[in-house]
């Protein structure tokens, strides 16, 4: 049997022409595009649950066209919100040709009824527990409209994703997932709705096996750990990072600013090849942080941001700061305040996105009640386009303010400043060879 596993074409940039033009002409931030354009790990993972009698063709529409006349017994699509309009078009084309289509991923999990109108079956939640049941039903010709993963997946039982199926030429970076779940329930976050608050992780043995596999395929290799917050379980994190050291890789990981309190972990990260930490600062305004997370976890670190940043950078690790603009506490002065912070603190890069009322989030529920959601299609949910009416500015001002920040923080003067800053750090450090040569 032959299955197509499809990642629909997505917009990893804004749909705004001026914004797109700036991004495409700036080599330093063009890297954002390939940073976020990895193939769906969900599809690669369920592919690993199939025996050899199933032939799988992976199609990443960002790199190759779909031949709708190719014969497939089944089409499986994974989609995020901004890819969803295209995902439904793809499903329609195949269903016209009498091919069964199943869909999963964050968007269908959050809006299963909408998804069902466009496909034969919808996967709700994590795929590992429901895929075997679906395959059994599919082979007996009795598939159900919905497959709901009611129990959390035991990650130590999750198979190694089929990285070998990917065309390595398409991807400069490879995503590996070691953990799922985040106890911090931010108002805007949809990932926590699929993975839940309970922090789970794979075994160190599993992660090392995955790294060894991708290392045998990609050259050069840069790994992005896909976990929303990789180092929540400090003991596990330290053991994992220690185990990575001998593998001689480079990687980026996502975490929170509290890692600055752990010198031991930072020193291990340096040795293990952590080039950058992607840290969610979200906002520089106390009121915004309080609204995001009522327990005040993020808020309590706000005053210490500069010192914490310096500590991390002193280990030769660059910080990619993740910020969101457009919160109710943001006004026209927020753009300059944010640019100044990024420049003054020598953040190596920054990803500033526009607050996005993604389906299934508390943010969307609130904005719906307040009548502030703009009637845009899902393909406008890029994170770089405005889909709601901001409190203290117009949607147009928010859109142009975002571009203003990017133009400022990625100017040649700022680039030179960053290079000098990091060069001085490296000049004071021993060359990173000694622990493994």
């Amino acid at each position: 049997m032959k299955f197509a596993f499809i990642s629909p074409k997505g917009s990893f940039l804004s749909n705004n022409p001026e914004f797109r033009s700036f991004w495409e002409s700036e080599p330093e931030i063009a890297g954002h595009r390939y940073f976020w354009s990895g193939f769906s790990l969900g599809l690669l993972t369920i592919a690993a649950l199939l025996s050899n009698k199933f032939k799988i063709k992976l199609i990443d529409e960002n790199f190759e066209e779909i031949n709708f006349n190719e014969d497939f017994d089944l089409v499986a699509i994974s989609t995020m919100t901004q890819q969803t309009d295209r995902a439904y078009q793809i499903a329609k084309e195949f269903r016209v040709r009498k091919t069964k289509v199943v869909i999963g991923g964050i968007h269908p999990t959050l809006l299963p009824s909408e998804a069902k109108k466009n496909v034969d079956s919808v996967f709700i939640g994590e795929g590992e527990n429901i895929w075997p049941k679906f395959i059994k039903d599919f082979l007996s010709g009795d598939i159900q409209p919905f497959y709901n993963s009611n129990t959390l997946v035991n990650l130590t039982k999750s198979p190694i994703p089929r990285f070998d199926l990917l065309n390595s030429k398409y991807y400069k970076m490879v995503w590996i997932q070691t953990t799922r779940g985040c106890p911090i329930d931010c108002e805007f976050c949809s990932a926590s709705k699929i993975f839940g608050p309970k922090f789970r992780h794979k075994s160190i043995k599993q992660v090392i096996a995955e790294i060894k596999l991708v290392k045998s395929i990609w050259k050069p290799l840069h790994i992005n750990f896909a976990d929303d917050n990789m180092f929540i379980d400090r003991r596990f994190a330290e053991e994992l990072v220690k185990a990575i050291i001998p593998l001689k890789i480079w990687f980026t990981a996502q975490t929170d600013i509290s890692i600055a309190n752990n010198d031991y972990l930072l020193s291990l990260l340096r040795k293990a090849g952590c080039e950058r930490l992607f840290i969610g600062f979200e906002s520089l305004t106390k009121k915004n942080l309080q609204n995001i997370d009522h327990r005040g976890w993020k808020c309590k670190y706000l005053d210490n941001y500069p010192l914490a940043i310096q500590k991390i950078q002193s280990y030769g690790i660059g910080i990619m700061g993740a910020f969101i603009i457009g919160f109710d506490g943001d006004d026209l002065s927020s753009f300059d305040r944010l640019s100044n912070f990024i420049i003054e603190n020598n953040l190596f890069g920054a990803q500033i996105t526009i607050l996005t009322p993604t389906p299934g989030t508390r943010l969307r529920d609130r904005m719906m009640k307040e009548g502030r959601i703009l009637p845009n299609s899902w393909n406008n949910y890029t994170g770089f386009d405005v889909n709601f009416i901001p409190k203290k500015m117009s949607p147009k001002e928010l859109q142009s303010g975002l571009l203003k920040i990017y133009k400022r923080i990625y100017s040649s003067e700022v680039r030179t400043k960053k290079v000098e800053f990091f060069k001085n750090i490296y000049l004071r450090m021993p060359l990173r060879d000694k622990s493994y040569n």
Partner: protein, 94 residues
Amino acid sequence: MKKSKKNLRTRNFKKRDFDKIKEEINSIIAKVAKVDRSEIKEDINIRDRLGIESLHAIEILAAIETKFGITIDPAKAFEAVTIKDLYELVKSYI
């Protein structure tokens, strides 16, 4: 171009041949980029073949400056596409 005239290591390298300089640069690249020295060839693209980007490049730059006692204009360093370009750049400062 700035040259650190006081640095003894620079003067030592002036007496050595270009091959020695290349060897030192290769050694630095291998250590920072975590690649085998045999993979470092003159004509290869630094970014595409060795994956050296952004922070790696700055670290290599810092190590080269320390090794040879020179200060390289970062803008010129980032113009280097191949390993050979980097050799020539360093040579021009020594």
